[in-house]
């Protein structure tokens, strides 16, 4: 082995950069209906292949097919469509509001609306999500008031978080939505702890952890897997693989393995992939995983395969690192469009009603926005008090903070 050639560093590259023609031909997409639906007490070792396939329900013709197509009424589907449309309209307004200087920052969900909207409907009241910044659908679908979300985004006088947090870092225990952290990955293992606590307490509630593709590289991902696996915690471990982490494509986080879902195999955790742009598929898989957790069969790792169609945040310009038309070439389509076509296909919806609904939803969002703006926007109008910055660091303010508050003049 003395005359071996020099070693070289492998640095993974995405298929396509600005100027290139997007090409997803390597991306293997099983046809809708192709993946089996095992019983919820299946041995994780017996479904290893599911980590390399994709559960899909809606086919090209917008029909719901296969073993995962079941359970949702027309009414529920219409509701799902409405949730996704609300989220998209909400995002659009808030992006504009940010550009208008009404707040400092915003993060949108464009293209990923199905993931959080469908998932939300698969949990029971009392269950707890530990979301990242890109699951506001969990709130929208649970009827959390949009106006309150906007109050938070505007850091205005009615902001439930008193202006303390960056926009979109919502928190609502009552809606099963854990306080969002700006530090990636931390919540993934906290969700496992919450689930362990439920098991310790002989409760029936479960939790859901959320993480992005890029953030699976964080160490807390490992901590979550180790603890979930060891204590068989009643938790759903969601990876939202939207292909990008700011400017970094998923290959940098995923390394040499085929899929993120395969990470579960090293822990004996049931691991599946789902078409994240297919509302029906996400909902069905989430239901299945929730049932597993609730019946004591332990954690499920779900990789939601989707695409971040917009910029990472309002601070980001994706044209600097990916082809402008990559989103258009994304083979799993748009989640709203797909559900809409399905509803039309089954006779529950029409283009006209869709256009009407769009207008009506826009009005709802605008009304919420007006109401929120009446409470102020960032730095304009009434604002959370500086005094409030000192509150709530501890339940009871200790003397040194009282002194500091006084020194600050409040």
């Amino acid at each position: 082995m003395t005359n071996t050639p020099p070693l070289t560093l492998n640095v993974p590259e995405p298929g396509c950069r600005p100027g290139d023609t997007p090409d997803f031909s390597d991306f293997v997409i099983p046809r809708a209906g192709a993946v089996d639906r095992p019983p919820v007490d299946v041995d994780p070792d017996d479904i290893r292949d599911m980590a390399f396939s994709i559960i899909r329900v809606l086919n090209k013709d917008a029909e719901a097919v296969g073993p995962w197509a079941e359970g949702l009424s027309q009414e529920e589907l219409l509701q799902g469509l409405r949730h996704m449309m609300l989220l998209r309209a909400f995002d659009a307004r808030m992006l504009t509001a940010q550009r208008q200087g009404k707040t400092s920052f915003y993060m949108q969900h464009l293209g990923e609306e199905a993931v959080s909207c469908a998932f939300a409907m698969a949990l029971e009241p009392g269950d707890m999500n530990f979301p990242t910044y890109r699951q506001a659908g969990l709130l929208i679908a649970r009827d959390y008031p949009m106006q309150t979300m906007m109050n938070q985004i505007y850091s205005n006088a009615k902001d439930p978080l008193h202006g303390r947090q960056l926009p979109i870092m919502y928190s609502s225990k009552d809606h099963g939505f854990f306080s969002i952290s700006g530090n990636l990955g931390t919540q993934f293992v906290q969700a496992v702890g919450w689930a362990m606590a439920s098991a310790i307490s002989g409760d029936t509630r479960i939790s859901a952890a959320w993480i992005g593709d890029g953030s699976t590289a964080e160490s807390d991902f490992h901590s979550a897997m180790v603890f979930a696996s060891t204590y068989n915690a009643p938790v759903i471990l969601n990876i939202v693989n939207n292909q990008w982490a700011i400017s970094t494509f998923q290959g940098i986080a995923r390394g040499g393995v085929g899929t993120f879902a395969a990470r579960g195999h090293g822990f004996g955790i049931a691991s599946v992939r789902v078409d994240g742009n297919d509302y029906l598929a996400v909902h069905a898989v989430a239901k299945w995983a929730a049932e597993r957790a609730r019946l004591g069969h332990g954690p499920t790792l779900i990789e939601h395969v989707t695409y971040r169609a917009g910029g990472h945040s309002t601070s980001d310009d994706p044209s600097a690192y990916r082809a402008a038309d990559e989103g258009a070439a994304w083979p799993l389509g748009d989640p709203i469009d797909r559900l809409k076509r399905h509803l039309i296909r089954i006779g529950a919806w029409s283009e006209e009603r869709h256009i009407q609904a769009e207008a009506q939803i826009r009005d709802e969002v605008v009304a919420a926005q007006k109401a929120a703006e009446a409470n102020g926007t960032l730095g304009q109008g009434t604002a959370p008090s500086a005094r409030d910055m000192f509150e709530g660091v501890f339940e009871t303010m200790p003397p040194h903070l009282v002194r500091q508050r006084q020194e600050a003049g409040y």
């Binding site: 439930p160 293992v189 496992v192 362990m196 180790v226 200790p398």
Partner: protein
């Protein structure tokens, strides 16, 4: 009252808290079946079952992270980091999450959590079984930091920490587990079993956080100390004959500024002692506080006697450890100025 070592007093606090409150759960590396490498949790698994006291994987971030989730759920986890030297992998969960959860969610979620860890040196543990990382915690808004120095305080303060609605870092000076070590490493240490502070009240008797204790009244100089250094300071005072007023801070944050102020205003002099590395150690904060609050009473510069700015060495342990000779010298210096 029962005569206990510090280990026994800590175990008793766990026992009382677990008996009184189902929400108290205890875990950490080797904490369950075996009862912890220092045996603090011995017997608890047997008594309260495996889902209230259990072994954890060796992952400090995961131990803290899951405990935050449990606390948010409504439990009251008490977790052990096997040595304070091993807390750094859990630092992000402590500093970015536990410390800020209440504030960032405006009280929607809270984090009543106790993180126990043996701290300090004097056991020939080398650089990874000897550290005193308290300054990292006192610099993180949202944490309380406690360092007991005897069995009675250990029990009462741990009960207070468990009852506290916010995260508490609970640092246990391991050199004090069995007796009041005063830095004279060549002499035998009295056992707590023969010491008045080893006399521990039974039941749920809490010692409130944020209150210092004057262990020796004096008029010449105020010594601010905590943990092992309380006994070193007492030895130094006895050996130099300097009439030092020794304050055992007990809680570093929130600090008991009133007690400190009253004492320094009386004595006009101040010596601060801790085992941690000097630069940016908690002594720096104490020094700043004293000079801000007692400037016009100070008759001499405040002196810090601390560990050096080096890793904690193995063979040179007693050169590193701020023992009674170094503290005594500081007392003399401060009196001569």
């Amino acid at each position: 009252m029962v005569q206990m070592t510090m280990i026994e007093a800590l175990r008793d606090a766990h026992d009382v808290a677990m008996a009184n409150d189902d929400r108290v759960v205890v875990y950490g590396e080797d904490v369950g079946y075996f009862g912890g490498v220092f045996r603090v949790t011995a017997g608890l698994q047997k008594k309260y079952g495996k889902s209230r006291c259990f072994d954890a994987p060796i992952n400090e971030a995961g131990i803290v992270g899951t405990a935050i989730g449990m606390a948010a759920y409504g439990l009251r986890p008490v977790i052990e980091i096997q040595f304070a030297d091993y807390v750094y992998p859990g630092m992000d969960q402590i500093v970015s999450e536990a410390a800020r959860l209440r504030h960032r969610s405006a009280g929607d979620f809270t984090c009543p959590l106790v993180i126990r860890m043996p701290t300090g040196g004097g056991i020939f543990g080398g650089q990874t079984h000897s550290q005193s990382p308290e300054a990292f915690f006192t610099h993180s808004s949202g944490l309380k930091t406690v360092v007991p120095s005897n069995p009675r305080d250990a029990k009462g303060l741990l009960l207070a920490a468990i009852a506290d609605p916010d995260p508490v870092i609970f640092l246990e000076p391991k050199r004090l587990y069995n007796g009041p070590f005063d830095g004279h490493h060549d002499r035998p240490v009295t056992s707590w079993k023969k010491h008045p502070l080893g006399d521990v009240p039974e039941g749920n008797e809490i010692i409130p956080l944020g209150k210092a204790r004057i262990t020796r009244e004096g008029k010449d100089v105020t010594v601010l100390a905590y943990g092992t250094m309380v006994y070193v300071a007492e030895a130094a005072a006895a050996e130099t004959g300097i009439d030092a007023e020794i304050i055992d801070l007990r809680t570093l944050l929130p600090i008991d500024l009133d007690t400190i102020k009253a004492s320094v205003e009386k004595t006009g002099r101040c010596v601060i002692v801790h085992e941690a590395t000097k630069t940016s150690g908690f002594g720096a904060e104490l020094s700043a506080l004293v000079q801000e609050n007692c400037f016009y009473s100070l008759e001499a510069p405040i002196i810090r006697v601390t560990g050096w700015d080096t890793p904690y060495p193995h063979a040179q342990e007693w050169d590193y450890f701020p023992g009674p000779v170094r503290v005594g010298a500081a007392l003399k210096t401060v009196m001569e100025r």
